[in-house]
Amino acid sequence: MSDLRELYQEVILDHNRRPRNFRAMEGANRHAEGYNPLCGDRLSLYLKVEDGVIKDASFQGSGCAISKASASMMTDSVKGKTLGEARGMFEQFHQMVTGNADPLAHPERLGKLAVFEGVRNYPARVKCASLAWHTLRSAVDAKDEVVSTEAE
């Protein structure tokens, strides 16, 4: 079980049990849908953006522990960030879970999100962790389409 705890860290299990910002949003001005065909995960992401800053973020949907915790922690962490900063976080998160960057090199950039580092050792689960982030990028770029992680 010790290996599994690397993936399913206590913080992740906690966000899975009690996801934060798990609601539809009144007055959202950005919205995107994410879909992971492999496991059937679906995610609706809502953002309230004012003057280029994400004032509020929330999500709804169904998914595995990794995807739900990822969406929960992501919505927490992008509040107050500019759209440019959110794009940068997407890049860093994506590099971390695909094993292309060491999160410890710049611990300040991802902060708590570094708990998802263990995902890199589970290639089949990278899609789960990155679904929320792909959906965020779509919402930030204001593309009106369903994001799929199939090509990941």
Binding site: M1, L4, L7, C39, S62, A65, Y122, A124, R125
Partner: protein
């Protein structure tokens, strides 16, 4: 053949699963430091040494192209390829080898029928009847041809337990029904559909029937003449054979009427720039160099299972399914999906508060390979109101001890997530 005969002569001999496991080299390994427990057999089965040896022997000794060389190797390859066809013919009790078409897989078999039989028989307003428990491979090919021809799909509903609603099926068969295409054994629910009865029902109305036997051919005896199936498809790799080889059985009369599927070499009798004469059955449907090694490997797999005896395999798997059903039912918070009276070899389930994908990852760490997801049956998932299931699926080499390992792993899942 002596070994097969001697086994057949001892019908009451116990099923020695330990000995059978020794035939499968891949099962000897450990994964994540634990002995491999392979329970993803509905996706693909592992291969016995006899199949691996047949592939090796073919490529080491006989490899040549078939049906055209005058040299010895080509004669041997052709003989082995056509012997494989005869082995398959006997296996499903087809009337003739002309009725056995080699394909890449079951999917290609269905596409072949859709694009030849379907395209010539379907017109505006016509209907194809399928069921709510079909794999995408028995939905999409029909949607494609229906869209082209202005025809439509009608879907037999299922009960909450996962059985077909046969009275609805009878109601769906109407003056515009041109074909029924249904799965023999559901890859998600394990339900065995009463296909013999359903074929008889369709035939009373003059409607031909295709049976998708992908999950059935390695779990039960299939007799296409007794079923009176018009078409029957299955794939080699689920029957302990190689990937890339499948079988389409079709009644000779129907295959004769159908236009070719693909054009090319081997499917022709003569070609001029003005006109081509097509080859006889089954070659009309086998354009290009076929998967010769695959067919030979499939025949070795058929010999392997018939050597053990399909009835004994079925009995072993039935006993395991009953054991597994009871064992899984004892896991708190676990719900079995698919509890039809007639079922085989598949244990689909969900667990309260745990997504199937997480179940799959945790049990994998314990050495247990299962499948999670929608199992290429998204409409069925919608009908059941769930996004996905976890699925343990059985084969002839599985044991009660392996079910116990799965159950222990599922308790760890609960520990982690609750």
């Amino acid at each position: 053949m002596t070994s097969i005969a001697s086994i057949a002569a001892r019908p009451q001999v116990g099923f020695n699963v330990r000995r059978i496991r020794e035939d499968f080299p891949i099962l000897r390994q450990t994964v994540h430091g634990k002995p491999l427990v392979y329970l993803d057999n509905a996706a693909t089965t592992q291969k016995p040494r006899a199949v691996l040896d047949a592939l090796m022997a073919y490529y080491s000794e006989d490899n040549a192209n078939v049906h055209r060389g005058v040299h010895l190797l080509s004669e041997r390859a052709t003989q082995a390829f056509e012997d494989a066809r005869a082995t398959v013919q006997r296996f499903i009790n087809a009337a003739s080898t002309r009725e056995i078409v080699f394909t890449r897989n079951a999917t290609e078999g269905i596409n072949l029928v859709a694009q030849t039989f379907g395209r010539t028989r379907l017109g505006p307003g016509d209907e194809v009847v399928i069921s709510a428990m079909e794999h995408h491979s028995n939905i999409v090919p029909w949607q494609m041809v229906c869209e082209e021809k202005g025809a439509s799909l009608r879907v037999i509903p299922i009960t909450d337990e996962g059985a077909l609603q046969l009275e609805e099926y009878e109601r769906l068969l109407g003056p515009h029904t041109r074909l029924v295409s249904i799965v023999h054994l559901s890859n998600v629910l394990g339900t065995i559909n009463p296909v013999q009865q359903m074929i008889a029902t369709a035939h009373r109305r003059g409607v031909p029937v295709l049976i998708d036997g992908s999950q059935a051919a390695h779990h039960m005896t299939v007799d296409v003449q007794a079923l009176d199936a018009d078409f029957y498809v299955f794939t080699g790799h689920k029957l302990y054979g190689p990937t890339g080889i499948g079988v389409l059985y079709g009644k000779e009369r129907l295959l004769e009427e159908m236009p070719p599927y693909q054009g090319g070499g081997d499917m022709i009798k003569s070609v001029t720039f003005e006109k081509t004469t097509y080859n006889a059955l089954p070659y009309k449907f086998e354009a290009g160099t076929p998967n010769i090694a695959g067919a030979i490997g499939l025949a070795a797999a058929v010999d392997y299972v018939t050597g053990i005896g399909m009835d004994r395999i079925s009995a072993h798997e039935r006993e395991l399914l009953a054991y597994g059903t009871a064992a899984l039912s004892g896991v708190p918070g676990l719900t079995l999906i698919g509890t039809a009276a007639e079922k085989s070899s598949v244990l689909s389930f969900v667990m309260d508060g745990v997504h199937p994908h997480d179940i799959g990852t945790v049990v994998d760490q314990e050495g247990v390979a299962i499948r999670t997801g929608h199992h290429c049956a998204q409409p069925l998932m919608q009908r059941l109101g769930i996004p996905a299931t976890a699925r343990a699926s059985l084969a002839l080499y599985n044991t009660r001890e392996e079910i116990d390992v799965l159950v222990a792993a599922l308790h760890k899942v609960r520990e982690l997530f609750t």
